[in-house]
């Protein structure tokens, strides 16, 4: 076989691989959306779920998913940003830095079920909180944190050196340089990374199963006092998120329309992740344009 033919065959194989992957995605989306979209209605999105009867909705689960996500992000973003800044700007090569880097890698590769078990031990049993939104959010923080750290470290490192040195050369302190020069320029990629990480948090189930629980108490959406037990904002109540709901109706549900609810929930979940992706792209490029134009 001449090297030309083998080159052509190889090219053909690589194109086939690309086609396989694309058709895989199209197939998956087609399946999820075709089965699910017809279940989605205003009613489905705004009714509470039912334990027994057909026709239950997923209102509380949607709210819980977003609320857990927001709480997680409130904890993760500052910490992850701080960690990223440390790794990019303060860490001196040495044992400590190496150790932190190992920690980040280890945290990122922990199986989510192990993190769930740790959450069960730490945030459910040891603290005596029981299943809570906060416990779920803290467990999610554990594996979202390394992602955030990596994203912000990469973003800060990719800011051109000249800008930073110019700032330092003007006698501006290191911290002030970070605050006013590095972070704004790194902002678009940090934002994109954060939104993509949010997508993963949104779909996580295994870690939440053991920490945020499988149930939602009766919620009163007119009660905005975060300390009241029926308030949706209470972070010390158990919460079943959308991803967990898909798992639990499929496995335990007594309702006759399990299939419909599961298909609808899966579609809502996937559409949300899709929106996160588009947002990440849209906002990222928008902010980038604005930033580069204004400077």
């Amino acid at each position: 076989m001449s090297s030309k033919t083998s080159d052509r065959i190889a090219t053909g194989i690589f194109v086939t691989i690309a086609v396989i992957i694309i058709s895989l995605l199209i197939g998956l989306f087609y399946f999820i959306l075709v089965n699910g979209v017809k279940q989605i209605s205003i009613d489905f999105l705004t009714k509470p779920s039912s334990n027994l009867l057909a026709g239950g909705g997923i209102r509380d689960q949607i709210f819980n998913s977003f609320y857990v996500l927001i709480i997680t992000m409130i904890i993760t973003v500052p910490l992850g940003l701080g960690g990223g800044i440390y790794m990019a700007e303060y860490a001196k090569p040495g044992k400590v830095t190496d150790f932190i880097r190992v920690c980040v890698e280890v945290l990122a590769s922990f199986p989510s079920i192990v993190i769930g078990m740790f959450g069960l031990l730490m945030f459910v049993t040891l603290t005596g909180w029981g299943y809570t939104i906060l416990g779920g959010a803290l467990a999610l923080t554990v594996f979202n944190l390394p992602v955030m750290v990596r994203v912000s470290e990469d973003a800060i490192r990719s800011v051109p050196r000249d800008i930073k040195e110019a700032s330092l050369g003007l006698g501006i302190t290191h911290w002030h340089t970070i605050k006013t020069i590095l972070l704004p320029s790194a902002f678009p990629s940090i934002l994109t990374g954060a939104i993509l990480a949010a997508g993963r948090v949104f779909g996580e189930a295994a870690a939440l199963l053991f920490t945020a629980g499988l149930s939602t108490p009766r919620l009163d959406y007119s009660d905005w006092n975060p300390f009241s037990s029926t308030s949706p904002l209470n972070i010390f109540r158990p919460a079943e998120t959308l991803a967990v709901h898909i798992w639990s109706v499929n496995t335990q549900g007594l309702i006759p329309d399990v299939k419909e609810v599961a298909n609808g929930s899966a579609a809502v979940l996937v559409i949300s992740v899709l929106i996160f992706n588009l947002l990440a792209r849209g906002i990222g490029s928008l902010v980038h344009k604005k930033m580069t134009a204004s400077k």
């Binding site: 999820i32 910490l79 945290l107 993190i115 779909g203």
Partner: protein
């Protein structure tokens, strides 16, 4: 934007009050680093301590746990806790998934960087990102409703099998492998490619003889990271693998993994009982294996040529 204050003032100010600017920033940043260290250490200690209880307090034999093929915790007279079938199941399904996902992922990476660098990346990159975004429960759900019946009707066996687990996992780890492999291929210096082409090599020869060897450590890292993800996946696998506590004899046999046994039994066992503690021991195994994966990755990245 903040009002511009001359640098001199700021410097003076930061000297006046140590809680201002520089120091406060440093504290914030160091705090984050410390929290990460604390999280890693506390997870290791907690799971480690809980995972060892079965051996220390309950007198389960470690050797038996790691080598016995029999899992019979409910036997009244002589309960046997052999986790070997699950350890084997976890490794089997992980390696099989990597076997499928690695060529596909690396192939896709080469497609994006070498075959069609201009548009290939624009098309495949979002596809890969969307694949990452599909939650694992949804993969499991599709596996259960589409894949399992398909395998039962067209391939054979019960449908619940290593094969189903392998397919679901390989789709799940494909994005991980592709993303890292793409980065690795993209960072290969242009000079290498051009040198090879200038010597008259075809594209395939360049890829095979120059680019892949140059990127090898990074490509292996990609595969190992993918395997680490597959090893720890729980819910999607549980829905399709059948959860049998004996050794599978063929790829069409149902099997069980460490993660599936943990999720199946966690809620039914009481905290502190032997049955519960052995589950924590399995969690500890998962933890140890993920440390091993990290070690392999660090070894590989030390050998990185570029």
């Amino acid at each position: 934007m903040e009002k511009v204050v001359p640098a001199k003032d700021r410097l003076l100010k930061s000297k006046k009050s140590w809680m201002d600017g520089e120091v406060r920033g440093r504290i914030l940043v160091f705090l984050s680093a410390i929290i990460m260290i604390a999280a890693t250490i506390s997870i290791t200690i907690f799971i480690g301590q809980k995972g060892l209880q079965a051996f220390i307090n309950n007198g389960v034999s470690l050797i038996e746990f790691l080598t016995s093929k029999i899992w019979d915790p409910t036997n009244q007279k002589n309960p046997v806790y052999g986790a070997l079938p699950f350890i084997f199941g976890s490794f089997a399904v992980t390696f099989l998934a990597a076997l499928v996902a690695a060529p596909l992922g690396i192939g896709a990476a080469i497609f994006m960087t070498e075959i069609a660098p201009s548009w290939g990346r624009k098309v495949l990159q979002p596809v890969i990102e969307l694949l990452v975004g599909i939650p694992s429960v949804v993969y499991g759900f599709i596996g259960l409703t589409v894949l399992v019946p398909f395998i039962r009707d067209h391939v054979g066996g019960l449908g619940f099998s290593l094969l189903s687990g392998m397919i679901v996992l390989s789709v799940m780890i494909l994005p991980t492998i592709t993303t890292i492999a793409t980065d690795a291929m993209a960072t290969i210096p242009k000079a290498l490619r051009e040198g090879s082409y200038a010597l008259g090599a075809t594209r395939w020869q360049t890829i095979r003889k120059v680019l892949i060897p140059a990127a090898m450590p990074s490509l292996l890292t990609a595969i190992v990271l993918g395997m680490a993800r597959a090893f720890g996946e729980a819910l999607a696998v549980q829905m399709v693998i059948g959860n049998v506590s004996k050794f599978p004899h063929s790829i069409l046999d149902a099997s069980g993994t460490l993660t599936t046994i943990i999720t199946l039994n966690m809620g039914n066992t009481t905290f502190g009982s032997v049955d519960n503690n052995v589950l924590w021991s399995m969690g500890l195994i998962l933890l140890v294996i993920s440390f091993v994966f990290i070690l392999i990755i660090r070894y590989l990245s030390a050998r990185r040529k570029i």
